[in-house]
């Protein structure tokens, strides 16, 4: 009896917390999406009108497509720059190349930094006049390549992607490294008896055996890419400047629901509709990814 009370006492507070601050806002966002809003005052029930508006009427439709396209680009770019590089780093750390002990920490260190810090840090790095990137380019005689990275359409989104990859690359590295360390040493010896090629070792043996780690990393990257908000908010602002070149669904939703830089254009109904669409898209696709990749996992 005492044990049951004890368990109840441990479970109820976090459950209440989650219900109040996670479940309730999600459900209420669902509900808000079906009403018309005048500022923060709820108007009449409008059915799917808000959804129709953000998907099919201008200017929302163009903005939605623009932001969604950027998220897709971010996802694939980070898949290569963050997960791909993370896998290679993990392989180098696992094979204990010289300096592995130092790099194991160095690679993971940025992950523990807050996104706010990383955002401001990279804004400084990329400053057109005083930033370390342009100064280094000029210093090495590559001054012709120096440019306002965050200030032009062609480079701004990529600058954010690289900042994010730098920040988070330690996470897939850590997960892949853990996956590799589960591979028995004799299996690696067995491959070495059959080939010298690192490529064959990686592609035919190591990669298939770390697939369980890949499931987690892929799913989290997918969710992260489509929920991307803090870094673009800090580095590019709520308007996704310049000219919405860095606009992503997170910023777009926030701007629509709560107003842009100038505080205008606030529309709670359309914002909620966007939030619901983002949520459903992520939940369905992430569920599908997890399900499909799980089926291919291998027991060592």
């Amino acid at each position: 009896m005492a044990r049951r009370l004890w368990i109840t006492a441990l479970i109820v507070p976090p459950l209440a917390f989650v219900a109040l601050f996670v479940v309730y806002p999600i459900i209420s966002a669902f509900a808000y999406a079906f009403f018309q809003w005048h500022g923060l005052a709820r108007g009449e029930f409008v059915g799917f009108a808000n959804f129709y508006r953000v998907l099919f009427t201008q200017p929302y439709a163009d903005w939605t497509v623009n932001a969604f396209t950027h998220n897709v680009l971010v996802f694939f770019a980070l898949m290569v720059l963050q997960n791909g590089v993370g896998f290679l780093l993990a392989y180098c750390l696992w094979r204990e190349l010289p300096g592995a002990a130092f790099h194991r920490i160095a690679v993971f260190l940025p992950v523990v930094l807050s996104t706010i810090i990383v955002g401001f840090l990279w804004k400084l790095f990329l400053h057109p006049l005083f930033g370390v990137v342009n100064i280094s380019l000029r210093g090495t005689g590559l001054g012709g390549l120096a440019q306002p990275w965050l200030g032009q359409d062609t480079t701004a989104l990529w600058a954010l992607i690289i900042a994010n990859a730098w920040h988070m690359v330690g996470f897939p590295t850590l997960v892949f490294l853990a996956g590799m360390q589960r591979i028995p040493g004799e299996i690696l010896d067995a491959v070495r008896m059959e080939t010298e090629s690192e490529w064959v070792k990686i592609s035919k043996v190591v990669w298939p055996l770390v697939a369980p780690s890949a499931t987690v990393v892929f799913t989290l990257l997918f969710v992260g890419s489509f929920n991307w908000f803090e870094l673009p908010y800090i580095m590019a602002g709520v308007d996704g400047s310049p000219h919405k070149a860095t606009d992503v669904l997170g910023l777009y939703f926030y701007r629509t629901a709560f107003g842009d830089q100038s505080g205008s254009g606030q529309d709670f109904g359309a914002g909620s509709a966007l939030a619901v669409l983002i949520f459903l898209f992520i939940a369905i696709v992430a569920g599908f990814i997890t399900f499909r990749l799980r089926a291919r996992e291998i027991q060592i």
Partner: protein
């Protein structure tokens, strides 16, 4: 053809020396077993031969070709690992085909070799299974099959029976002996089990503390052990060693009297170690019998024989094989007779064999 020459092979891990200069000459088609207690360096030596670890100093040749710097996959060597090390994500067929394809063989040739190996090892019904769906013995056969499809000049086996249950062990042992004859290459087999070593080997390398104690046929090792280590390592129950002093044609053991022997070492040393196997001694309860005096500690009844363990006057415990009818309670005073033709003599100082 695969004649292997190891000369002055040393291996150190950082400041720890694991192998202190190994010299071996292994002939073509020979079945050689490395045996020794754990930590003696036998697996390390096998890994050096395979090329999985680098040789610190010394030279290793296969058929007069220096192998020190040659990659493991190019030495013409295949290895069967203790844990089998099958690729968990490939089925049995793929496990065997993987290495064969990497050798650049034609598709037909790969298939032919897998057919051959799976017939030899009775793997046909298992080809589509994944390693986790196989029993220990089946995994073992796949691991051997994977090695065979590469048609290696040299086959290395690292404690291949240690993960199998006792009943399966003797079957697989016979299987390995048969395979060695059929494929006609050189085989090196590592084990800590002297029974495996004795039954399989053409020649045995007995290792201890990173050195070779003796290299010879099972018969040589059993009948003419080179030193006290080999003497006690080979043979079960183990040979008893007694510290005796020579006194004319008598051997005296402190506190147990002396025995007269017909055969003594040619060298004149007074302080000797004699080695006597359990079946070269006899127990007698007759106080006037000739031999070393002692008292019974315990007896082991094994059905066909009884082993009697006796504490001698200087505290040494010796095991004697007796007929099954013998049943002596502890503390019975007994006399141990020694068959002097079967005594092995060793120097007390060097522990090396003395010729008699």
């Amino acid at each position: 053809m695969a004649r292997m020459t190891l000369s002055g092979i040393k291996k150190s891990f950082k400041s720890v020396d694991v192998l202190h200069g190994i010299d071996l000459e292994i002939s073509d088609r020979e079945f050689v077993v490395f045996v020794g207690p754990s930590g003696c360096g036998k697996s390390t030596l096998l890994r050096l031969i395979a090329g999985l670890d680098t040789i610190s100093s010394g030279e290793f040749h296969i058929d007069d070709r220096r192998m020190n710097e040659v990659a493991p996959s190019r030495r013409g060597i295949a290895m069967v690992f203790q844990s089998y090390a099958l690729y968990p994500h490939m089925d049995v067929y793929e496990n065997m085909a993987f290495g064969a394809r990497l050798m650049g063989l034609e598709k037909d040739e790969v298939e032919k070799r897998i057919d051959e190996a799976s017939r030899m090892l009775r793997l046909d019904p298992l080809l589509k299974r994944k390693p986790r769906e196989l029993s220990g013995g089946q995994r073992q056969r796949v691991a051997i099959g994977r090695a065979l499809v590469r048609k290696p000049k040299v086959l290395l086996l690292d404690e291949p029976l240690s993960n199998l249950d006792a009943a399966l062990r003797s079957d697989v042992r016979l299987e390995i002996a048969r395979l060695h004859r059929e494929i006609g290459g050189t085989t090196i087999y590592v084990t800590h089990d002297q029974v495996e070593a004795m039954t399989l080997a053409d020649r045995i390398v007995v290792m201890n503390n990173g050195k070779v104690e003796q290299f010879g046929s099972p018969r040589e090792l059993y009948e003419r052990p080179a030193n006290t280590f080999v003497a006690t390592f080979i043979g079960s129950p183990r040979m008893s060693l007694l510290n005796v002093e020579r006194d004319g044609s008598n051997l005296a053991l402190a506190g147990s009297g002396s025995v007269n022997v017909s055969r003594l070492p040619q060298s004149g040393e007074r302080e000797l170690v004699i080695g006597v196997r359990p079946d070269a001694m006899a127990v007698s309860t007759d106080e006037n019998a000739k031999g070393f005096k002692g008292s019974v500690v315990y007896t082991e009844y094994l059905g066909e024989n009884t082993y009697v363990y006796v504490r001698l006057g200087d505290g040494t415990l010796v095991g004697i094989r007796s007929s099954a009818s013998v049943d002596l309670p502890p503390d019975t005073p007994v006399v141990i007779a020694v068959a002097s033709e079967e005594i092995h003599y060793f120097s007390r100082a060097t522990r090396e064999r003395l010729a008699a």
